[in-house]
Structure formats: C-alpha cells, structure tokens
C-alpha cells in the first residue's frame, strides 16, 4: 500500500483478563494485566523479536495484535487497516494478510483432518480457488514450498514428525498469501537439529515473498540469529527495544542485562568465565503487578524512585528505546 508507512503499527495495546469469583453470581474481583500498554512498529520485510520469560505476556500480545483476543485498549494497524474496528469484509481481508504459526505442532493441527483439508482451509475461507483441481494444485505447491512431498497430501497429522507438522503449520499460514505472520514460539517444541531446518525455511520464505514477521520466543540465541530488532517484555510491558546487535552488545535495562547473562553459551571456556547476573526470586503475579517500575523488586539497581514512578519509555540512543530510571 503505502511505501513509507510501517506495515504494523501497535499503539498502547492492552489486554486484561477479568478474574471472576463466585459460582452462581459471578463478580469481577480483579484483572490479569497480561499486556499493559505496549507500542511498537514493524517495517515491511522486517523481523521483530518479542522475548521474555513465561507469563510475561508475549503470546497474549501476539494474539491480541491479530484480534484473536479482543483488546482492552489500544490501536493496531496492519497494512492500513485498524484491526480493532474492522468488521465484515475488512476483517476478512485482515485475516488474509495477517497469519499465525503456533507453538505446538501437535495441538494446532486437527487430528481428524488430512493435510489437504488443513492447508486448503484458508483457500476455502477466502475463496482463493475456482476448481477442485486448482485447489489440489495450490496445496501441493504450498507443500513443496515448505519442503514436504506432495504425495503426502492425504495423510493425517499423526503420520508426521514434529518438524514436519510445523512445516504443515507454515504451509497453512502461507496459503492465504499473507504479508505479515506472527510466529508464536514456532521452534520451541522441536529438537535442535530440526529447529535449524524450520528457521532456515522461515528465512527462505521471507526472502522469497517479502514477508514480515513478529517472532515470539524465549530462546534468546535464536532471536539474535533471526530477528532484525528485538523487544524485551517483562510482566506485560516492553522494557527495552533496539536493533539486535545493539541490544545484545549494549543492553541498557538491568532486566535485559540479567536475561542475556543467564543464557548459557555452548563454549566451555567462555561459559565458565562469563559474568552472570543471577536475579533473585521469581516474576511477580500480573494480577497485582508491583508499583512504579515493575522490575524494581528484583532489580539490583532499584531505589525509592523506582518503586513510586513508572519509568518513561524513551529514546536512550539512536533507535534504542528503554524504560528505566537508571539509564
């Protein structure tokens, strides 16, 4: 559409899940603030990484962004379409250009459907074929793109290995000719040797079709490999966002620093001499997140101000955003 606008614009996206109490008469007693006001853009053809520990809200962010969960507040624009206000034809169009690859290749494919039904469902929903022969041909073409033999078209998911199933998930996501794909931990259920296969496939497809990815993951080494820019989430908010090498070489937020130093390096001499910042305690509950900076109870640098004032989201270096009083 517009060459100068980013493909995806997210402003103050918020998703709260109500906490209910009572069996007959239910009342709302609080909210899980899973995503609490996050903003970022993704340029056309770029891969943005979204990293954080379990429960930080990264998956909820990905799903809310696509409208799979109704957002509590905020604006998401994908290719000029406002996802929250889109209805009818416009919603269908958003669903066609924005797709998702799920984490668990075992749970995200219907076990009673053949590969043909799974991969051709988006074609059916979006009326992308005229004849049955055309549909079969397109499914076989998609299978070829992800490295599966077209002869397997009538097989069921249980006949495939984990890596092959994830390829089926990728083929399904590609079926509707999307421009933007949310990859929600697409490799974390796979073995190391298979992870590399799927990552290389995602990179090839990106080059070939000019795809834009939001890559949600907790594997920080893989994120550095595949992403152009990386956003770090903690308890529902983004605490730091920068180009990958800038972020990994000069992390500014104390949480990013601790997170990166915790990642083991497959090099014994180096791993044993690395300085590790071991964080005390666990991530607090997102139902009543800590006041001020959400990281302050675990932060080695925190002082009184951090527990009172929410740090401002600001530009600390060229294209390096951070929310911390101490930077």
């Amino acid at each position: 559409m517009n060459g100068t606008l980013p493909l995806v614009i997210v402003e103050n996206l918020t998703k709260h899940f109500p906490v209910m109490r009572g069996i007959v008469i239910q009342r709302k007693v609080g909210a899980v603030r899973a995503v609490d006001g996050i903003s970022f853009i993704i340029e056309q053809g770029e891969t943005l990484g979204l990293v954080g520990e379990s429960g930080c809200g990264k998956t909820t962010a990905g799903r809310t962004l696509l409208g799979l969960y109704p957002a509590t507040a905020g604006v998401v624009t994908i290719d000029g379409h406002n996802v929250r206000s889109a209805r009818g034809r416009e919603m269908l169009l958003v669903r066609r250009i924005a797709q998702m690859i799920f984490q668990d290749p075992y749970a995200s494919l219907n076990p009673r459907w053949t590969v043909h039904s799974i991969v051709s469902e988006p074609l059916r929903v979006h009326h992308l074929f005229k004849t049955e022969a055309e549909r079969v041909e397109r499914v076989q073409e998609l299978m070829g793109l992800v490295g599966l033999s077209g002869r397997l078209i009538n097989r069921f998911p249980h006949e495939f290995s984990g890596g092959q199933r994830q390829r089926i998930g990728v083929a399904r996501a590609l079926a509707s000719d999307p421009r933007f794909i949310v990859c929600d931990e697409p490799i974390s259920a796979l073995d190391v040797s298979i992870q590399a296969q799927v990552v290389n496939l995602l990179e090839d497809l990106q080059d070939r079709f000019g795809l834009t990815y939001l890559f949600i993951a907790h594997d920080l080494s893989m994120v550095r490999h595949i992403c152009d820019r990386v956003a770090v989430m903690y308890l529902g908010v983004i605490v730091e966002l920068a180009d990958r090498n800038e972020l990994y070489e000069h992390p500014l937020h104390p949480y990013t620093g601790a997170l990166l130093s915790s990642v083991p390096v497959p090099d014994p001499r180096k791993d044993r001499t690395r300085h590790r910042i071991i964080l005390a305690g666990d991530v607090p509950s997102p139902i009543n997140p800590p006041s001020g900076c959400r990281f302050h109870p675990r932060c080695p640098l925190a002082d009184e101000r951090c527990s009172l004032e929410v740090p401002e989201w600001r530009l600390a270096a060229p294209s390096h955003w951070v929310a911390c009083h101490k930077v």
Binding site: S193, S221, L259, S262, P266, I278
Partner: protein, 329 residues
C-alpha cells in the same frame, strides 16, 4: 579417581503393540566419584531411559532390560531385588526429574515429603527429620524454611519446586545424583539459579552428577565429561573442552553447527541436519546416523561402528570416517 558407576553393554527394549522399541542398544559408560557427566541428545535418543534402567525404574512389562551390567561400587544393580534397590534409590543414588510439578505429591505438604526419605533411609524420628528438612531447604535457598514445611507444592513456583526436589534428593547425602532435564521446564533466569545451586552443592559435598539434557549450552557450563547419544547409542564421549573444541563425530559437529550463539553476531545461516532421527521400531543395523550424515559411505549403512578412541584424553567416537579428512579412520 575411583569409578563409582560402571555400565557395560546396557540394552533396554519396550514391547509395544506397534512392535519392539529398541530404546537403548548396548551402551557402556562410567562415572567417577565426584565427577559431572552430561548426557546429551535429542528427544527419543535414549538418554532418560538408559539412566532409568540404571535405577531399574523401567516398568516391566512393557519395558525389558535385555542385557548388560550396572556395576555400582562393585555390585551389579541389575541382580538386586526390588527390596534391595529401594535401599539404594534415594540413599545412594538420587534422581531429580524434569517436571517438578508432577514429581511432587500435590496432596502432601513438602515437609512430609522431605521427611519421608529421611525417616525411611536414615531412621530419624519425626523431630530430627524436621530439623534436617529445615537445614536442607535452607541449603537450596528457600527463605523462611521452618514455616514453609507446612506448605503444599502448588504454593511454590516452578523454580522453587525444583529447589524442593533438589533438597529431597540431597536429603540422604547420595554419592550420585541423576538430574533428568532439571531445568528444561524453567525460564533462563531460573535455570541460571538452579545450575548455580547444583554446582555449589556438588563442590561442597563431593557428589557425582549425571546431568541429562538436550541443551548444549547448559552442558558447557557444568560438565566435566560429555557423552552424546543418538538413537540409543553413544556416538561420542569426551572431556567437555575437547568435545566443544574438537568434535569428531559428524552428529556432534552438526549439532554444534545448528546452534545460534547469544554472544556472537550472526555470520552465517544455521547448518541444518536434513531428515529426522530413525524409527526405533526396527532392530538397528549400520550406523544409526548414516541416513542423515554428510560423510557417510557404503560401509556405514551395513556395519555399526563401536566406540573407539581418537587421539588422547579418553576421547571416543563411533564413526568409520575421520571428519577432518573425510577418509576412513
């Protein structure tokens, strides 16, 4: 150094409706006292099953330990009765598991669960057991341990539950701790805490550790020696620095090539290993990795190489080919 555990030609099979699963196919290895051995491999390579066979935790049937010897301090554990094994498990050899939620009993307080092994193995009375339990929880870094004895597992977070599991495992001062993917279910910051804890304890009480994992990063930080498993075989065995700096089996070298690095800029595409591990439903013949191997020759398909030394330093590999030169060894 004296050998604590010496496993010879261990074979484990499972007889399932689909056929016999050849899970562990004649592996031999040893662990010295106070040493940390890491067992690395992908899912289904037999790393957990082989260690569970050592402790006879395999359910028979469908499982079957089809052969081999497990010599622990001069005695063959495979010849022991179930009753004799009960006095070894938990006391001499302790084990911690991947999922700390399902390995703790949800309806008993953690105090009761820790005290149980103290009372059965060490014959302590309730009071002494509780006192020791508090010391153990303190050792693994749980704050206010005396008050937390009455808590149930669901009141602890994942990392804290794994600490409780470690406290239970350490309760009888075992000589060998088998840790089966203890940090796989945890976040990296919590993983760093647990790795630091186990390293600290191992250094203070001089306990041998077998650390089962698929994460080559964690291995680099904790192991003295590493063995790499594939499809029920050991394919390479070496000291940790030797293995990472000079991997000699094509599988090990390919695995290391498939790993991105958090501490380096991207310099290449990842090297992927084509295909998938072989089905274990067929009796293995030939090298199990030959179907995915870049350097495989005709001989690899028909004859399975046994572990043989390469160079010095007790570096063993099971491969017909020298990957540096590409010719037969």
């Amino acid at each position: 150094m004296t050998t604590l555990l010496d496993v010879k030609d261990l074979k484990t099979r499972f007889h399932t409706p689909e056929g016999t699963v050849y899970a562990v196919n004649g592996i031999s290895f040893h662990v010295d006292e106070g040493e940390t051995l890491a067992v690395v491999g992908e899912s289904g390579c037999g790393k957990s099953v082989s260690m569970m066979s050592v402790l006879q935790l395999i359910l028979v049937p469908p499982g079957e330990i089809a052969g081999g010897k497990v010599i622990y301090r001069g005695q063959d554990l495979l010849k022991k009765t179930e009753q004799e094994m009960e006095s070894i498990r938990g006391k001499e050899v302790a084990m911690i598991f991947q999922d700390p939620m399902t390995s703790l009993n949800p309806v008993l307080t953690i105090g009761r669960q820790i005290c149980e092994s103290l009372r059965t193995h060490l014959g302590l009375d309730q009071k002494a057991a509780e006192k020791r339990a508090v010391e153990l929880l303190e050792l693994v870094g749980i704050s206010d341990p005396a008050n937390r004895l009455g808590d149930f597992p669901h009141q602890f977070s994942g990392g804290m539950r794994q600490r409780v599991m470690i406290a239970m495992a350490l309760s009888c001062n075992p000589s060998l701790l088998i840790a089966d993917e203890p940090t796989t279910a945890l976040d990296v910051t919590i993983q760093a805490q647990i790795v630091e804890l186990v390293t600290k304890i191992r250094n203070t009480v001089h306990m041998a550790v077998i650390w089962i994992t698929h994460d080559l990063g964690v291995v680099a930080g904790i192991a003295d020696r590493v063995m790499v498993m594939y499809a029920g075989f050991i394919v390479e065995e070496a000291g940790v620095i030797d293995l990472y700096e000079n991997p000699c089996h094509p599988y090990t070298s390919a695995l290391l090539g498939a790993l991105p690095r958090v501490d380096r800029r991207r310099d290449r595409r990842l090297k992927s290993i084509p295909g998938a591990p072989p089905s274990l439903l067929m009796e293995p013949h030939g090298c199990p990795f030959s179907t995915r191997c870049e350097v495989a020759v005709e001989r690899c398909k028909s004859e399975n190489p046994s572990l043989t030394p390469v160079g010095k330093n007790h570096h063993n590999i099971a491969c017909w080919i020298d990957i540096k030169t590409g010719v037969a060894r």
